[in-house]
Structures are given as C-alpha cells and as structure tokens.
Symmetry: C2
Subunit: 764 residues, 2 copies
C-alpha cells in the first residue's frame, strides 16, 4: 500500500457542492417518515408508566375490538428469544435477547417509557383510543436510577437472568455459559486492562492526584425521531424502511429476534436526520414488523420527541475515579482509573471505548483501567459520537491541567513531553503506530488563538486533547458507466456526514474524472454487498477504499474494452486522466464518454464493483483550545473563542471535515454547559422536550475555528484516518479547564450550568 501524495490529487482536497445538497435544502430528501407504502397503516406504542415493574397481565381485548384497529402486539406476541442470546453483529457481540426485550417488554418493564404494547390502526387517533383501552396490571417494584446504587449488594435486581460477565471487553455484556453459578447482579460486565507495574509507577511519582469525576447523560440530539415502516408479506418476505446507521446490522438483528433467515429481510435505509451513534441497533423495527405480520398490512411507526427522550437512551452517565502520578519534571509515571458506566436498562455501555481511549494520547508506562457496565431503570443508553471517550478524557485532561498548574508547566509542553509515539504501548496492550498527536499539538500551539494571550476577570482558557481509534469494516460499491460517461456509483454506507460525496470524490480521484460526473447513491441490503454501519468514523476510510477498488475495476474494464475496440492486447492500452490511448498507434484515443456511448455495440454495459474488508485503520487526535467568560451575576458561561485542531490523515472534502470538527465542538459545548437529564425519584424524565432539554442553538455558539492537520495514514490508499469522533473528545475537558481557570475553582461534574458555576464561585 502506497499512499498517494497530496500534490497528485485533482479531486481530493477540493470542495465540490454535495450531491445530495439540493434535495436536502429543497426538502425533497426522503426521510423515514416520508415513506408512503400504499395501503400502510400507522402504529403507536403503549409505554410503561413505571420505571421498574413486573407485568402481571395485559388485556388487549377491548383494543382489538375497536373498529379501525388492525393489530395489537405485546411481549407475548414477540417470538421467544432467550434473554441472554448474544450474537455477533457489526463486529460486536450484542445481547439480542435483551435488545428484543428492549423493543417490547416481556416479563418486566425496566424503565419508564419501556414499550409494553403497540397498536396498528387506520389512524393515529384510533391508535390512541386503542392504547387507552389496553389494561396492564403491574406489580410496581422499587426502581434503581443510579449506577452506584445499582451496584450495592442489596439493590433490587433488574434482570433475573443476568450474571456478571467478567474480563471481557465486548459491548453488550450478558452471561457467559461458564458463569451460571455467579450471583444475581446489576453489574453486566467488568474488565481490567493493565500494563507495566502500577505500584512502581506511583512510587516514581513526585505528585499524585486522585479525583472522582462524573459526566452526566447527554442526548445525541438527532433531529429525526426513530421511524420505521415494515411490510411482512404472506410469503414471509419482510421489508423494512428505517432511519438507521447500519441497515445490514438491522437486517441481521431483526432476523435473529424474529426468527427469520437474514435473506428473508430487506432493509431499505432512508435518508437519516442524524444518528450520532443512536441509530446503530434495532429499536422499534421488530415490533413494527410483528404488527405488519399480524395484520398483513404495511405498518408505519414514528415516535415523537418525548418518546425519543423517554425511551431512546442518551450517552451513558459515567463515574470516573482517576489516580495519576507525575514527576517534578512533568513526566507521567502511572495512571489508574476505575470507570463505572450506566448502561440503562439493557447491558452495553461504551465503558470499553472510554478505557481504550482515555490514556492513549500519552505514553504512560504503568497504567490500569477497570471498567464496569451497570444496568439501571432508565432507557438503554446508546452510542453518542466517540462513545465513552469524552468521559474518560474529561477526567484525564482535567487532571493533566491540574498537574500543569502545580508544576507551572505549559499545557502543550506537558503534553508534548508525554505524547505517545509509534511503538509505545497503550493500556490495552496494543502498540501505537501511525500516530499524529505531536503534529496536532504543534499545530495547536502555533495557532493565533494560543499565541494571543487572554486577559480579563472571570475569563479563562482551556486546552485538552482527545483520541479516537477510528474503525473499519466491510464495505461494498457498484459503479455503472452511464451512456454519457457519467458514473452511477452505488454504495452500502448510509450517508450521515456527506460520505456520498467523499466516496464519489475518492472514486473520481481514482478514475481521473470530475466528481460532478459521479452520481452517488445509497442502496438497500438486497442490492449491494454487506457494508458495515456508519459508525466509528469508518465510512470515509472503508467506503472510500471500496470506491477506490470499484474505480480500479472499472478502469481495468475500460482498458479491456478499448483494447477490444482497437483489436490490441490490453497491455497496449494506456489510461491516464480518463483518456485511453492505443500505444501501438498513439493517435488513437478514446475518452470514457466515447466508450460509454458504445457499450452495447462492443460487448455490453461496463460495471465495476468491489467488496472490501480493509485493514490499516489509524486513530485520530484532536486538540481544542477554548476561551470562556463567566457572567458574574448569573454564572452563565459564554464561549468567546474556540479553535479545533485535528489530525484527519487526509481531508477528502475539507469543508465537511471542518463541519465535523465544528459539530463535535458544538455538541461538546452543549454537554459541558447545559445538557442534563432531570429525573424524578420514581424515574420519570422531567425535561423530555427540546424546550426543557437545553441544546445549544446558533445563538449560544461562537464561530469555531478549525485547523486541519494531515499526517496521512499509510494504511489507506488516500491516507484517510476518520474524522467525526475524535472531534468530540476534547470539548468537555477543554471547557472544564477553561471554566476552572476563569472561576479559580475546578468542578468535577457536568453540566457546568449557571447554578453550579455560581456555587463554585461561592455565590450561592
């Protein structure tokens, strides 16, 4: 693998208009709720009003008798799947038995908002009437709403079948066969990672700090609520239109929980109005499918915003206990962390993500992370951009800031001194390679922002770094040559962040054409090879690679076709910038468009395709610098200046890369300063709307400057690393450090809202 040099690029690094832009700004792009299958009816959920309750009985007879009701589904209608069924999905073990119970409660309602029944009817009004006619008898149980409470020996047990899974780092938790003798617990998983000798490491330290940090739940804030339409035909072919980040994973998971073969399920991903990790796994789809099966009609179910907040979980709240040691000359000697992540009602927090990322920017010879995944009576938490990593960085980067204060060291000097480099080992034992951290730190230090000093009372500047490993997975592409030379480029990756265009650009670069001549589209699970989900900042890497290979396949066929037309051997045809030349008679040339127009007469249509499972992923580092000002009267924090610096490997479309960096900062600002889940004691979310759940608006945000660093990833044909998630790791600690400097006192929990800031300032 030789990474192509930037100077050779004609398309990569430019900023063409996105192919889906017109459709999106004109309102023509079709999202899941726009799906209109003829004859479809609509569905609604009945949700548990209790955070923890045994379901004694459900009487649906009156609802079923209501005119206009076509089907009612309860847990009894869902196929029997063991509560502890785990399956490999999208590269992770996921507890599909419990995910199926999350879609529709069986024995117990595990959180307020947990679906206990669903109705399909001619109209939403009739569905509402029918829901009111369903009688559910509950035995109300004591809810557990906090991870620390849930871990106590006498805590109420949520899931009877659950045993603690020890030592494995996979997501999804659950029972191992050999653990059947383990005791009941709300702890789904524990694991430990360790390198070096921790005791020796702390002995070498001159300063040791030990702190507890707490990050709260934060909603992903996607604009589009979950929505799915399903049609289960009489011959058991199931078609699902849904807003998802991973149609192939949905297909496979739905097939498992509904006891179908995956080949019976076709998932058609619609345009997606944001996901940020929350639309990776099955949620409403199995229930909508079952409703359709029961009544034989296409069924559409779209949840509303309150249901999103009540039942579609946020990022995991996390408790981080951190102890680190440093020498007087500023070298980290040891780090020890204990991470307790709330999974919500179903195992599977991203605690492993936090564990894998939190120490990675630094070369710490002696380190340990203990991770604990705990279930509580709240909705299953879902991934949110760099899942877990912001909570880990929140702790590590604040403590480093404290070290710098105590040592009187410049934060860049400290981080550069300790920066992990190729060859040093991570806490998970993996040796570092292709690291771009030092370059990112250098670029951040050189910014005008950092070079300009900050003055004024109640003003503070914070710096923090963050790491995300980026991901890969299988990806597939098909590229057909249209008769005018345009290319219909079809891929399996759902496009959230503009990846249709970045794929088209990489395709165009490889083929030597303009990206305007590529028509990219995303297709369904029956129409392209398996493509793993749009997550882990993987798409530009893996799908770009698939595009590269599909272009090469097409190029090979173009050369063969030209050779056939000229009656020469393929080796006698050269290809350069979309022009084919007969080397035996260089006056003879053919453009792609000329071959395109002659396809049928020279052997048929030319189609390139690829299916790749690429290795070569390289992680990405981000460094953010932020200036804040505190209002002395209200405690409100205003972001005055923000600069995001990131090594992206190679920016295919710099405009989108900047957008990802700015978006990460913006979402981080919201989480840091305002966003919060407020629960009543009995487990009811009290701010389940965008009016009360306070995400930042454009009025809350400054212009966010970006600096793209390019340390090309040698593992990718174009040097791509991945962008979207590393940008979301530094904001929490960067802002916390800035606020600490402004206030003169450090806070250890989120959000840093006016009340807490006033408290810290001693004003309350």
């Amino acid at each position: 693998m030789t990474t192509i040099e930037r100077s050779q690029f004609k398309v990569i690094g430019t900023r063409p208009v996105r192919h889906d832009g017109i459709d999106k700004v004109t309102g023509r792009a079709q999202y899941a709720n726009d799906v209109r299958v003829p004859g479809h009816i609509v569905a609604k959920f009945l949700r548990s009003p209790h955070a923890h309750a045994r379901i004694i009985s459900i009487d649906t007879s009156r609802a079923e008798a209501l005119a206009g009701v076509h089907a009612v589904v309860t847990g009894a209608d869902m196929p029997g799947v063991s509560a502890i069924l785990r399956e490999q999905t999208e590269g992770s073990l996921v507890n599909l038995g419990l995910m199926s119970r999350n879609s529709m409660a069986r024995e117990k309602a595990l959180y307020r908002g947990h679906p206990v029944a669903a109705v399909a009817a001619d109209s939403l009004r009739i569905a509402d009437q029918a829901l009111a006619l369903i009688e559910v008898k509950y035995e109300i149980l004591q809810p557990v709403l906090d991870a620390l409470e849930a871990m106590k020996p006498d805590a109420p047990i949520l899931i009877e079948e659950l045993r603690t899974n020890v030592g494995s780092t996979f997501r999804g938790g659950g029972l191992r066969a050999e653990d059947e003798t383990a005791s009941h617990s709300n702890i789904a998983t524990t694991f430990t990672m360790e390198i070096g000798d921790l005791a020796n490491g702390f002995e070498d330290a001159d300063i040791i700090l030990e702190r507890d940090y707490h990050t709260t739940a934060a909603h992903q804030g996607y604009i589009e609520p979950q929505s799915a339409t399903a049609y289960w035909s009489a011959d058991h072919q199931l078609t699902i239109w849904t807003t998802t980040q991973g149609p192939f994973g949905i297909r496979d998971s739905v097939a498992t929980v509904l006891k179908l073969d995956p080949g019976q399920v076709k998932v058609i991903p619609t345009e997606i109005g944001g996901g940020f990790g929350a639309k990776l796994q099955i949620s409403i789809e199995p229930v909508v499918a079952r409703l359709s099966q029961k009544c034989g009609r296409p069924v559409k179910l779209t949840i509303d915003r309150t249901e999103v907040f009540d039942a579609m979980g946020p990022a995991s709240p996390a408790y981080v206990h951190l102890k680190m040691g440093v020498t007087n000359d500023g070298r980290l000697t040891a780090a020890d962390a204990r991470l307790i992540f709330e999974a919500g009602a179903i195992p599977g927090s991203p605690v492993a993500g936090a564990a894998n990322c939190m120490f990675t920017p630094y070369d710490i010879p002696n380190a340990r992370v203990e991770g604990i995944d705990v279930i509580v009576n709240k909705p299953k938490t879902l991934s949110y951009r760099a899942p877990g990593a912001p909570s880990g960085a929140y702790a590590v980067e604040q403590m480093i800031d404290e070290f710098c204060e105590q040592l009187g060291m410049d934060p860049f000097e400290f981080r550069l001194k300790n920066a992990a480099v190729d060859g040093s080992r991570r806490v998970n034992g993996v040796a570092n390679a292709n690291m771009g951290f030092k370059e990112t730190l250098d670029a951040a230090r050189a910014t005008d922002h950092w070079q300009t000093s900050l003055d004024g009372k109640l003003r503070g500047r914070g710096v923090a770094a963050g790491f995300w490993g980026n991901a890969t997975g299988p990806a597939s592409a098909i590229a057909g040559l249209l008769p005018d030379g345009r290319i219909s480029y079809i891929e399996g990756s759902v496009d959230i962040g503009g990846t249709r265009t970045t794929s088209a650009m990489q395709f165009a670069e490889a083929l030597g054409i303009s990206s305007d001549n590529v028509k990219p589209s995303v297709t369904d699970t029956d129409s392209i090879g398996y493509t793993s989900n749009t997550g882990g900042s993987s798409v530009t890497f893996k799908q770009g690679w698939a595009a590269f290979e599909a272009a090469n396949d097409l190029k090979r066929q173009l050369i063969e076709r030209a050779a056939k037309i000229w009656s020469v051997d393929s080796s006698r045809v050269s290809y350069d910038s979309a022009l084919l030349t007969n080397l035996d008679d260089p006056a003879k040339t053919l453009t792609i468009a000329e071959i395109a127009a002659r396809q049928n007469g020279t052997g048929g249509s030319i189609i390139g395709h690829s299916s790749v499972v690429p290795r070569g992923v390289a992680g990405g580092f981000a460094v953010h610098i932020v200036d804040v000002a505190i209002d002395p009267e209200t405690g409100k924090v205003t972001i005055e200046r923000y600069t995001a610096v990131q090594d992206v490997g190679r920016a295919i479309h710099p405009g989108y890369v900047e957008g990802q960096m700015q978006g990460g900062a913006a979402q981080g600002i919201g989480w840091a300063l305002n966003e919060e889940y407020i629960y009543s004691k009995d487990g009811r979310m009290e701010n389940s709307s965008f009016l009360d759940y306070r995400m930042p608006t454009s009025l809350d945000l400054p212009g966010i400057d970006t600096v793209i660093v390019e340390v090309p990833n040698p593992g990718h044909p174009f040097g791509v690393r991945g962008v979207g998630e590393a940008a979301f790791v530094p904001p929490l600690p960067a802002i916390a450090n800035a606020v600490a400097h402004a206030v003169g006192k450090r806070m250890f929990e989120l959000p840093m809202n006016p009340r807490r800031v006033l408290e810290a300032m001693g004003e309350i």
Copy 2:
C-alpha cells in the same frame, strides 16, 4: 454454445410459485399510480377536440392565475426538437421529433385527444378547473381517417415536414436527408422485399387467388393506464417513475426530447399492469417531466380509460392485398402482397413486422412484399403483440385455407408440404435456420382435437399457423450472495409475463440451487447495466442468458473463495450442485450457504454480474385449431374448442408458457370476433370505454388447450426461443377459417361480429 439437454435440468421445466405472486394477489405490488413521492402534485391533459386542426394560439393566463395551479405546459414550453429528428432507440430508428409532438402538440393537433396543454395542480379538481380556463384557438382542418384516403394525391397533408422515406424497413419512418425534394405526402415509408422471380412463379401455378383483406384496429387492453411521476430537481437531475416496458429506452428518449444527457435521467420502472407493446415508447413522460421542471415539485399524471382509448393508439388497421399461386399438387409457387398499414398521426406502423413474418412459415421460391406506412388523423398506433404479424397471417392463412378447399387437401398436409425448413430463404432474403415448424405441425395434427371430427350444422373448424421472429438485445444482471445462501438476483428487464421467475429459474439451474433461494427483482436505470426493452418475446432469451452468465460469474467466485479458505489453487476445487469440494482432500466440502455465512471474514461479499448482448435468436411457430358454432338467430360466434400448439424452444416455466399461449388465443379471439374502433366522421372514437369496446371476458372464452413443442434453440444455453408473440399470430385466420367453414362463406374483414356473420349468412 452447447445447449443443455432437458434430462439434465433440475429447475427448468418445473412450475414453482412465482416470486411476485403473493404481492400481486394481495394487492401489494406497486404500480405507477401507487407511487407517492412526498409533496407530489397531480396533473391532467387538455386534449384537442378536433381530429385535425392548426393551433392558432393558446392562452393559459387564466389557468396559471388559478389558486392551486403550479404549472401549465403547452407545446411552446417543450424544448425545440426538429419534427424529423430520428434516433436509434432500442435498436430501431424512432422519430423522436414527432414522438415529442405526440406527447404535446406543437403546430397542429393531429388527432382528437392529442394533448395541447397540461396542468399541474394541488388536486385533480383544481386541474380540471384550470383546464377549463385554457383558451385554445384552432383552425379546424379536414381530417383524414383512413389510410386509403390519406394516400390519395389530394388528401390533406398532416405533417408539413414529412417526406416519404423509400426503401428502408425501419420503424418510425420520416424523412431522409436526401429526400428533401420529395413531395409532401401522408405516406411515411414504402419498401419492397423480393426473392425469386414473381412472374415465373405465377406462371408455374395452377391456381392463383387474389384477395383483399382488412384487419381493424384492436386495443392492447392492458389493465393499467399510462401513469408517470416525475421529479426534476433544481440541479437538473430528472427522476421518472413510470409504467413502461423499456426504462432504458424511456431514459434515452426523454433525454433527447428534453435536451438532457441520459446520465441526468433516472427511470424507475414500476410494476406494469400489462403493456403488450403499447408501453415501449415515450408518451406522457416528457410532459410530466416538464411540468415538474416548471414548478419544482414532483408531479404525477395518470390518465383515465377514456384517454387511453382516445389517445394511446391500438394496433394498426391494415389493408392486405394478397395474390398467391399454387400447383395442383399443392405446392406454393409465388406470393405477392401489398401491405398498407395505418400508423395513426405519427409514422411508425409495424408494417415491416407483417412483411417479415407473413410468408416465413412457407418455402415460397418467388415472393414479394410491398409495405406502406401511412399517417392519418387518429392516435399514433402502438405495438400490440407480434406487431403486424397477425394481419399478415390473416391474409396468408385464409388464402391457404381456400387453396386447401379447392385442392381438397388436408390443411396439415398442405402446410407440411410447403413448410419452410433450414436453408430456405425468406422474402427478406434471410436464410432460415433452427426452424421448428414441421415439428409444430406434426404435434398439432396429432392432438385429440384434430383427431376428433366435428359434426353439426353451423359448426366449423379452422386451422392456421403463425410465425414470430423473436428478438434479443442487451441485458444485465447482478447477483449478490446473502448471508444465508439466498441470492439477491437483480435484473434490468421489466417483468410483464413472469420473467422475474424465469430468470431466477435459469439462474438457479446454472448455479445448481433451488429457484426458491433466488430473490429476483427489477431495478432502475441507474442501478444496473443497459437492458433493452421487454418486447419482441426477448426477455426469457436475453435476460435468461444474462442470468446464466451472472450465475457463472458467481460460481467462479465461489470456487475462488473456497480455494482461498482451503489455501489451495482454484483448479483444485470442484463445483457440483452448489457443493464445493477440495479435490486435494475430498472430505472437505463447503455449501454455498456455508461460504455465504463467512463472506466478511474471508475477503468480503461475493457478487456476480453480467452484461450480455446475445445473438442466436430463433423464431417460433404456432399452430392453432379452433372449433366454432354460429347462433343461427343472432349470428354470434361461440368458440367451442381451442387448441394452441407452439414450438417454444424450451419451456422454462411451462405454466407461464401455457399462460402466454392461452393469452395469445384469448386476445386473438377478441380481435377476431368483437373488438372494433368506432369513429365518427369527424374523428371521434365513439366507444372509448371497456363497456363499449368489447374485449372477451372469461364468460366468452372456452378452456384453451395447449401443447408445448420443444425444438431447442441451439443458440441459447438453455435452448430458449421466446414465447409470447408467436401465440398471437394464428388466432385471427384460424377463427376466420373456422367461421368460413361454419357459415359456408368467407369474410375478409374484422371483426366477425354477429352483424357481419348474419350478413355473410344472408340473414340481413
């Protein structure tokens, strides 16, 4: 090419349930009018009330001002395209300049029902109101409603730009550049085909008959009216959902008449509720697209049944003057035909189809056909199953019947004596090859029907033969291996007659799997290679071939994957009936499903594809035997017994083949006995509904027996010839012969309705 023997087949020749059956019988299949693009509005046409009129002016201002009206289109809004623009489309030269004028009148309205304006509005009610507000000033001209009238030197000229095209046999007619000095005419095309020496041939004859035959217009009777939805985006990407037999041809033609590149146009074919040839070319699509462009909204236009009759033309009425000579021992010596076909208002009748087919069953050493394509002030005629051939056979097969009567010869003996065989020449000069006519005649003669004598007054039996050449063209297929071993098989051919299943069966046969494990689907023009239209009885042949090649491509990759898994060379892997065996260690085997489940872990998804332009077509012969009884009081003809015998090469799915044979007979019965276009003198169709246009219902039809003859086509991997159209050639003459025998008097024009039969019987 070696055709595979029937005895080796496991799938071909069986009768699985069709893959689209459930969707169709449950009403879930989505036809064009089911398309619901969010935000779409609806459109209607304003149609000319005059059969021939110059358009002086159109004032749309009041319509445009009406609330709820989004766009009005007249001829002035359509891009300027020369009236004589001809383009190669689907292998035929089509006069797209005139086809564009057929979609929307420009200078003149050429038939009653010719669109002169179209309105897109929020509702059909508003559209109707708007149409009433459009003021069109016409200069009413004398209409010409009959081909013989139109050919007279003093006939009104319909299209000023039209000059007679001499000597070319293509469809679509029009002007050749070199003919600019030719005089104005309503004759679009004339041509002559000739072999041998006609004068000598007639000299050798002992009996010469010379007759005039007339076949009337007959509607194709498709259930689904034309309907299209178009969305023209602000960046000039045009998407069209339409009911068509040829989405790629629609794409290319729409691009030409709207002055787009074909790569800007994506055509999504819906399920099609019948076409029979009438949905091959553009009709409403350019106007719907232009409406969408004008208002920026998706626009749907569905015409009603009356509009179908008024404006979507039937099969061409035809005048056939035929002279044939035969020796006393029953050998045909000469044949001479003059065919005058009405094209409707736009050139392009299937007169060449008639000319190419009418004499082909017989070895006639001296023969000539003169063909004439004439325009009249009626809607453009459209193809209808074996276009042209029934009219030719109507003449030839009746005259043969007369010869048999005069010679006292058995109709099978006569036809066998004169049957064309491999090597004999057709009137178009082509040498016959792979003929299965004798085998078909032998099979027909051996039927119980023929072997059982017919008695009774006013009863008659008729026999007739027919030929159709069958067609081919480019076809493309993609076959993806789903994780459970099922195959997602995707093709470009619109499925009218069950071809999804016949493709799936040929694919399954080639791969050695069950056709139930193949999920066939039809896709759009951006998602598969060019595939020519579903016409000419080509699909089972060409698309089956594409399926065969895609299966072979998949098989090759399965072998490579198994070799990779076993770390052996591909040559050391055998493939037999979906089982792969390691020849170095035969205990090691892999099924397709086992490889399917391991795709991602062994290199990625496996996708086969193909794009073929196959040669090797072989024509098909049909022989029909029919018994009729005449009601002496009403003259009504009752079909008492009907047997259809046909050489199909190879029946992939015998049930569908039988259905095609029965459908051909049924449609032929309607055309022969009842169907008729009744026009007023000023060119208004007076029976434009299914109440008044009398197609046969199930109550009018007997059980139709079928005998499948299989003389495999050596030019196809599975021996396929094509089925759908040959079955429609013999009914008209077979019934005419039967009625002639029953009545004792021969009629020479259609329909043989009660009035005409009573006339023939001397009862009126």
